[in-house]
Symmetry: C4
Subunit: 158 residues, 4 copies
């Protein structure tokens, strides 16, 4: 069931807006974060099993712990006390922070892109105005040539 859920999450996060790098990266980071939270919770229970003073003794408790760790809230109601438990915690923390950094960066890129679309639109309009002036000038030059030729032909047939 968990793999099915993950597969669907991957689909939703990578499938729809998979065109731009920033949305792909933010989606991939979220998928990796979900994976690390779900798998890390299981690993930390295995690592802490039997350690004196360990509170992370069941998967549901470990899942709650890994969420408050990935979000850097860290109430302190649960925390690992073994070397391996703490190493897994470091991975959960770093992946959590990086995922939020990715999402923030992707949002910024999306906003900046929309903002520039507007600015480039104005730039494009200015460019089109220049091009139109240019075409009018070309037309005028050709008319001057036509007139010169008519004058030359008129001079010869006189």
């Amino acid at each position: 069931m968990v793999p099915g859920f993950l597969a669907r999450a991957v689909d939703v996060l990578l499938g729809r807006q998979g065109r731009s790098l920033h949305f792909k990266a933010a989606g991939a980071a979220t998928v990796v974060l979900l994976f690390v939270v779900l798998v890390g919770s299981g690993l930390v229970v295995a690592a802490e099993r039997g350690a004196p003073g360990a509170k992370l003794t069941s998967y549901p408790l470990a899942l709650w712990w890994s969420v408050e760790t990935a979000t850097t809230v860290g109430y302190g109601d649960f925390y690992p006390v073994t070397l391996w438990g703490r190493l897994i915690a470091v991975v959960v923390m770093v992946v959590g922070i990086t995922a939020y950094g990715m999402v923030t960066a992707a949002l910024a890129t999306w906003f900046v892109g929309r903002d520039q679309e507007r600015r480039h639109h104005r730039l494009h309009q200015a460019e089109q105005a220049v091009e139109q002036t240019y075409e009018e000038m070309t037309h005028a030059v050709h008319e001057r040539f036509d007139r010169l030729e008519r004058m030359l032909e008129g001079g010869r047939t006189q």
Copy 2:
């Protein structure tokens, strides 16, 4: 009173600078965050009611808890101990982090936009200089045509 306050917050956050996507998104995220903090505090009290060891027993305490959760400070003086309480906590955490990400991204977009305005200004000036050279050249070409025509007319009237 709370709906009145929320309505006013919506007005202030969405009304004034409602033009750009990034300010709208940051404003909307802040409104959603305020809503989740205010409503989540009520829900968590209902979820934790009667649970053994529950400390989130009143709305004011829950409001304080939801603020330190949304900001990811998490002192650990209060935390939920029931399944539903923890699910609400996850929503408060995720909405809190996303809202700050939105605000950071909106600030970055605003700064980048102001920075580019300056750069585009220089680009626009360069473009205007090109256009002026272009107009002067067009004028010179027409003068050459005029002179040619006068020469041709002079030749014919000789």
Copy 3:
């Protein structure tokens, strides 16, 4: 001494790189954060004075608390227990998070600006190449006119 330190901090943060909006905003946010941390520590001690269970009883302890609050670390060794103490805490949290958002946004803007400078440099070079082609073409057109005029003059003097 504290005002002197603040004044110097304001100088350093606003004086040197005071040209761009993003550096000014990040500097101002840092100054406001320093102010809120220094003043909030004093206010929280006053607010918590005499409350049962209060641990924030001296300015040095409150200063340590306000730093771990502004950075959202929140060990839980100190936290306010009164209404006013908690309101001050909310201000410290929100100002802290906003200041870090400002600094992150300013860094992003600085990086993006440097990255675009490089890209605009290439765009500028392309523009200069176009302008040079344009000048060469103008020169060629004038030479054609000169030749035409010489031909016309030659025809007349024959």
Copy 4:
């Protein structure tokens, strides 16, 4: 062994993608963060040694504490209780937050750059289209001059 690891980390982080400012800055911030975490852990043990109630009594524990401090998780299982320990903690917090800000800003700059590459590509294509029209027009003008010259020569040889 620690200097060897650091040297390799510096190589990996600065060596490969050392071209753009944003990747260099994010790499440098990560290296500084690793250094502050490794050295700060040692300093905090020295600072806390012998203080009443101190829990940070060994380097491995201090390393775990400095990681949860730098990521702003702050469970509260360990925290400094002396003035010097807390000053070192402030440095770890501030360097940690700044490093994550740098990484987020670098990611945003990378995403924005890739997004603009696409947009500039379209702008470049538009520019090339203009240039081609321009060359065609120049060619047409020279043909008109050729025809005029042939007419003049034809007129003279009649």
